[in-house]
């Protein structure tokens, strides 16, 4: 489900205002939550760094039904329960037609037991991934069928936006 952040994100007359909701449920301007849509950049190492612009796919463990008012995953791996280890962030791939934007983030399960992912979200960020003030949730999907990541395995999760 697209959050209200997504609509604000595409609206040029709101980009400079403090209207986006961060993981902390506070309002921020675009420069603090991932930058302008037309000046979007991506860093493969942005998960742990204070990159001024970037995106990643967050995974979580809550299963409350999504709403457009959601501002973070219910139980975020990045901020709430760091269970899976970030491995890499892929560059977005874009097709010309249909217009598709893919973001893939890979995690490892080194927790010692199987981990079940129940929710997935696309995040735009300008700080570290665990900074609640600098992360903005754009989409949130609660999985109909949770994903079990076996201990010792990696998982590559992709969120695709298509027009």
């Amino acid at each position: 489900m697209f959050t209200k952040n997504f609509l604000y994100w595409t609206s040029t007359n709101t980009l400079s205002t403090s209207i986006f909701k961060t993981f902390a449920n506070t309002s921020q301007g675009a420069s603090n939550v991932g930058g302008l849509l037309t000046n979007y950049n991506h860093n493969t190492s942005s998960y742990y760094t204070n990159s001024t612009q970037g995106s990643y796919v967050d995974v979580g463990f809550g299963n409350t039904a999504p709403t457009s008012d959601d501002y973070k995953l219910e139980d975020s791996n990045a901020c709430d329960t760091p269970t899976l280890t970030f491995i890499s962030n892929g560059y977005p791939s874009i097709n010309t037609y249909p217009y598709v934007r893919n973001v893939t983030t890979t995690y490892a399960n080194n927790s010692g037991s199987d981990v079940t992912i129940k929710e997935i979200g696309l995040v735009s960020k300008s700080g570290t991934a665990n900074s609640k003030q600098n992360n903005m949730l754009i989409t949130r999907t609660v999985l109909d069928t949770p994903i079990v990541v076996p201990n010792g395995s990696q998982i590559a999760v992709t969120v695709s936006l298509e027009i």
Partner: protein, 74 residues
């Protein structure tokens, strides 16, 4: 609101006026699926210089943005 009535005869399906409208103003809303009529203005013995046109708005162009999630266990 009733059916279109011309010279005492009813035509088509039920139509609905916009809330702010009145019987002498434009009907801006018509039920989806209703037949569209264009009625002649005036007429012998009619009710004056009436020019009634009813248009049915049945849809609009739309783009759809979709979000898909996929994964691969490595």
């Amino acid at each position: 609101m009733g059916k279109i009535c011309l010279n005492g005869e009813e035509y088509g399906n039920e139509v609905v006026a916009n809330p702010q409208g009145s019987p002498t103003e434009t009907l801006s809303t018509i039920q989806i699926g209703a037949t569209v009529y264009e009625l002649p203005s005036g007429g012998d013995g009619g009710g004056g210089d009436m020019n009634i046109k009813i248009y049915s708005m049945v849809g609009s162009a739309r783009n759809v943005i979709t979000e898909n999630v996929s994964y691969e266990i490595l």
